[in-house]
Every structure is written in structure tokens, then in C-alpha cells.
């Protein structure tokens, strides 16, 4: 026990330092990190802005602080008659103007503002539901892998079963049945999170199965440490690295699924600006206004690409097999 404790510590720390260094040196991972950082900053700003203006100006305030800047308008308020024109093309188009860099939506709202504010839904939903799946999957996977036997069998059978239903379908059923046909983004987040528990549980379980046989676990067990403590103190922390990579890549997948969910009308609800939901609206104007369908897709693409690049970089850093 005396040697294994601090020994582990050094091992883990060296691992992290190595990871950080590799990410710094790896061009793709660095670019991924830049994109993720920019998207996170934008969504953090928009979240703070909408909540701060609500807090300081009251719930009825039809104003956000971003509006003080010349490039933003209110992301949700629909301009009254004569105030704003709908279906304006982007600025580089002959009929466009710099007042609306990406044009306006059918209701006359500034599309650029809505795209920027759309980041908060996609990103926060992506992160929160991945976290739910991550935490739930870690617990289930650690318990299944550590105890083995009957517990493992039962949990794995349940997971296998849930796995057989395509996530998108399971999430739609979950949200619609829980809400009785009035979908809401909160239920979508929980639904996505629960659906991803099996995915994480599988990875954690296989990690745990290999860690379980390690000497330091044997040592802890021999010195009378309780199972729960072994799982929390030793098993979970040591199986963390591969799951972290997976979680980063999973955020991209989650954003992809939530976009599909909103596109079908079972994610974010209007007037909340959300990329998938904006594509749902623009699908009806495909012939009339091509631009409406283009921008939200590009926003989704860039965001997910950021998470994927970063995740790939992390994976290269943590998987020595591919480094040569």
C-alpha cells in the first residue's frame, strides 16, 4: 500500500502532462481547441447576456445587452409591421446590407444574431447531456465491471437492449411520452443523456475489467478497504483518460443528434434560436430563400468539427499505438 499510492500519483500526473504537451504540439488538436474555445466563449457570452438582461431588466424586458452593439439585435423578438423586412439576403448579395450581415429570417429577425445565439443551445445541450451520460455510464460501467458475475450480466443485458434502439428514436419516444406530446428542450437533454449511458458504461466497464486485476486493487482489497471506496478512489480515476477522449468526441455526436431532434421539432422550441430548429423553419422556404438553410448548417459543422478535431488530438496523445 505504501508504495502504490504515491507511485500511482506520479504515473497519473506524468500522463496528464504528456497529454497537454502532445495537444500543444499537435496542429489538428490545437485548431480543434481554438474552435471549441471560440464557440464556448460565444455561448458563454450569450448565456450570460440573456440571463443578465432578464435579471436586471426584469422578465418582461425586451432587450439584451448585445443589442447595444451595432451588429446585434434581439434574438427572439419579432419586429412589428414596417419595422424589419423578412427574407433579406446576406450582405455580400447585391440586395443585402451590412445592417444584417447574414440577412433576415422570414419574420424579419436578424439572422446573424440568431446564429450567434443559437450557439448557447447547441453547446450547452451537447455538454450537459454528455455529462449525464458520462456520470451515469461511469457508475453503471464501474459497478458492472467491478462486481462482475450476476450484476454484470444483468446490467450488460439491459445496456445491450437499450443499445439496439437507435438513439434518435429512443430520445423522441422518451421526450414525447414524458411530456405527453409537448416536447421541451429540457427533456431532450435528459433523454439524450440517458440514451448515452450505455455507450459510456461499455467503455468504462472494459477499462475497469483490466484495472480490476491490477496489484494495487488487490492490495487495497487485502487491507480491508470497502468495495465502494475502491471503485470511487481507485477504479474510476484510473479509467478516466480513455473515457475523457470519448466524451469529447461524444459532445460532437450529441450536438449532431440534438440538431436532428430540433430539426424534427422535438428539441428546442421557437422562438428560442437553435440551429436545428432554424433548419426546420428554413426547410419550408427551400425554394424561396436558399440562404436560410445554409448558415445554421455551417454553424453546426464548424462547432462539431472543433470538438472532433480536439477529440482526435486527445486520442492521438493518449493512444501510444498510433504514435510512431
Amino acid at each position: 500500500m505504501d508504495d502504490s499510492g504515491p507511485g500511482d500519483d506520479i504515473e497519473v500526473r506524468r500522463g496528464w502532462r504528456h497529454t497537454v504537451r502532445t495537444v500543444k504540439e499537435d496542429t489538428t488538436a490545437r485548431w480543434g481547441l481554438y474552435i471549441v474555445a471560440v464557440v464556448l466563449l460565444i455561448s458563454a457570452y450569450t448565456i450570460i447576456d440573456s440571463n443578465l438582461s432578464r435579471l436586471t431588466l426584469g422578465a418582461m424586458a425586451d432587450f439584451t445587452f448585445a443589442e447595444a452593439l451595432p451588429i446585434f439585435e434581439h434574438p427572439e423578438r419579432i419586429p412589428g409591421p414596417g419595422e424589419g423586412e423578412g427574407h433579406l439576403p446576406p450582405a455580400f448579395h447585391a440586395d443585402g446590407s451590412m445592417a444584417h450581415p447574414l440577412g433576415t429570417d422570414p419574420d424579419g429577425r436578424d439572422y446573424f444574431t440568431r446564429i450567434v445565439y443559437g450557439a448557447q443551445v447547441s453547446v450547452s445541450v451537447g455538454i450537459v447531456s454528455t455529462l449525464i451520460g458520462f456520470v451515469g455510464g461511469t457508475l453503471v460501467g464501474a459497478v458492472a465491471g467491478f462486481y462482475g458475475g450476476k450484476v454484470d450480466d444483468v446490467l450488460m443485458r439491459i445496456i445491450e437492449t437499450v443499445y439496439a434502439i437507435p438513439p434518435l428514436i429512443l430520445i423522441i419516444i422518451f421526450t414525447v411520452f414524458i411530456t405527453g406530446g409537448n416536447p421541451d428542450i429540457i427533456y431532450a437533454v435528459v433523454g439524450v443523456g440517458i440514451t448515452f449511458i450505455p455507450v459510456f458504461a461499455r467503455i468504462i466497464r472494459s477499462e475497469v475489467l483490466s484495472i480490476r486485476e491490477m496489484d494495487y486493487i488487490e492490495a487495497a482489497r487485502a487491507s480491508g478497504v470497502k468495495n465502494r471506496e475502491i471503485i470511487l478512489r481507485h477504479v474510476i480515476p484510473n479509467s478516466f483518460a480513455p473515457v475523457l477522449v470519448y466524451a469529447t468526441l461524444q459532445i460532437g455526436v450529441t450536438i449532431l443528434i440534438v440538431a436532428g431532434l430540433s430539426f424534427l421539432g422535438y428539441g428546442a422550441q421557437p422562438p428560442t434560436p437553435d440551429w436545428g430548429q432554424m433548419l426546420n423553419v428554413s426547410h419550408g422556404y427551400m425554394h424561396a430563400n436558399v440562404w436560410l438553410s445554409i448558415w445554421p448548417g455551417i454553424a453546426i459543422l464548424i462547432t462539431i468539427m472543433g470538438f472532433n478535431l480536439f477529440g482526435d488530438g486527445l486520442q492521438d496523445a493518449l493512444d501510444p499505438r498510433l504514435n510512431d
Binding site: A164, L168, I169, F177, G181, H287, G297
Partner: protein, 333 residues
Amino acid sequence: MGLLRYTVYRFLQAIPVLIGITIITFLLANLAPGDPVRLMLAGQEVDEELIETIEQRYGLDRPLYERYVTYMAGLIQGDFGHSIHRNRPVTDLMLNRVGPTLLLVLSAYAFALVTAIPLGILAATRRNEPTDHVSRIVALIGVSTPSFWIGIMLILVFAVQLGWLPSTGLVYPWRGPDGYDWIETWPELIYQTIRHLLLPMVALGTLQMATLMRVERTQMIESLQGEYVKLARAYGVPERTILRKHAFQVAQLPIITIVGLNLSTALGGAVLIETVFNINGMGRLFIEAIQQLDYQLIMGITIVIATMFVIGVIITDIAYAYVDPRVTYGEGE
């Protein structure tokens, strides 16, 4: 013989999973807050007596386990229950919808495999050269783009702007030319089928292509570094033969597994692609059922789609056992 026994074994093994699927779907539909009949009649004049009659008629007033047993008894005979909303058997409603979805998913897979494997090998053999970089960027964009948006963009370019390809619906070859009043001959039917299938196929297949391409590249790189390849090189076996015979076969094993597991994503994606392209498959039927809160139909579709996935995984498992060089090695050389 071994393979046959394995096949039977895999199918038997799938039975608990299939039963599990029915339990989960049944519980989701029946334990949800709100009662299906009331939800279905929401917005209409609610007559308590009518609700009771409907509930009695469809056995909704009986305890949960009894309803499940009844449901399963029907399921074994291919009866998915009765859609209260449409007043028709669920099995009838689903029958014509399976074909389009299978056509779409299988063609998307064909597209993905035909493009991903050569590109992956090319990238692996020209590692860190421009070809490799380009194919990696393509793969990265492929895994980062929502399939339904690819569909929308394809429609905008090839249907709306260029007018080359149709943007909605599919043509089903199994109906024969007589099934359409605007198609006369078989060649024309095949031509129209392909024309209608192209855009949705690419939209649904891009994600699969990108995923498979990445795996193929990694596997080929690993496989080209294997001891057996080194040995073959040492014996002076030509590089082409090494690539084709030694490295290639081993690298395909993980591809087979991933094809099976990704079926889940593809079936989920079919819901989106069928919506974008107005294809009357299982995916669109699912969305309609969800909108109408048609519980029986939702349960039926979920069970059928999950079963498709389970069967797909079994088929790929069998294919894996068939291709695995550790099984056929002795005869091959």
C-alpha cells in the same frame, strides 16, 4: 458445419435482447404520465363514457403484466396490435414501409463501402502525403455534418439550382413498371430508381463513409506494420500482393463490426432523411405516429427497427466469423 451452428447460436442468443426490446418499449409507452386515449382525444369534447368504452375495448383497463402477455402473444403471431388512431392493424400499416427504408439504408451502405475502402487504403499507403490529408479532411467534414443538412444542400444544388435530380420520393423496383403509370419498361424503372435514390443515398451514406474511411485508414496503417507483412516483405513478396492479400484482409475485420454497429445510426438517420426527401418509409411513419401519439404504432415501429438492428449485427457477426483468417487460414495458403 461450424458456421451453421454458430449462426443458430447467434440467433438464439438474440432472443433475450429481442424480448428486452419489447419490455422497454412496452414500459416506455405504458408508464408514461398521461393516458393514451385521453391524450389522443385532447382538444376534443371529452366524454368519460367514450373513454371507458375505448379503454375496455382495447384492454387498456387491465393490469400492466396482463396487457404485456396479450401483446406478446399477438407479437409471436406477427400481430403488432391495433392502431386506435387509424383504426387499422399496425402490421398492415408497417408492411409497405419496411421496403423503402431497407432500400435507402442498404444503398447508403453500398455507397459508403464502395467509397470508403479504396479511399482509406489510398490514404494509408500514401500516409502524410497530400492524398492522405485531403481524404482526412473529407472524413472530418463527413463525421461533423448533420446528414439532414447534407440532404438539404444536395436538394438545393442538384434539384433546385441545377434541376438534374428529383428532390422527393423514391421509385420502388419491386413494384415493376406496371406499378407506375409514367414508367413503361424495366430499364426505365431501374434508371428512375437510381435517379431518385442518388441524393438520399449520399446524404445518409456520408457519415458512414467518413466513419468507415477513418477506420479503414487506421486499420491499414496498423496492418501494414504487422509482423506478417514484414515477413512477407522479407520473402520478397511484391508490395501489391502484400497489400491485396495480407494487409487488406486483416484490416477488414473491424470494418465488418463497425458496419453492424453503425446500423443503429443509419436507421436513426433514415428518420431524418425520409423526412427531408419525403420518402414513405418506417422513419416517416414513426414521425407521423409520434405526432398522432399513436402508441401501438410507435411500439410496433420501434420493435421492428430494433429487430432490424439486431439482425444486422448478427449478419455482420457471421460475416466476421466467415472472413476471420484465424478460421480459414489453413486452407487459404
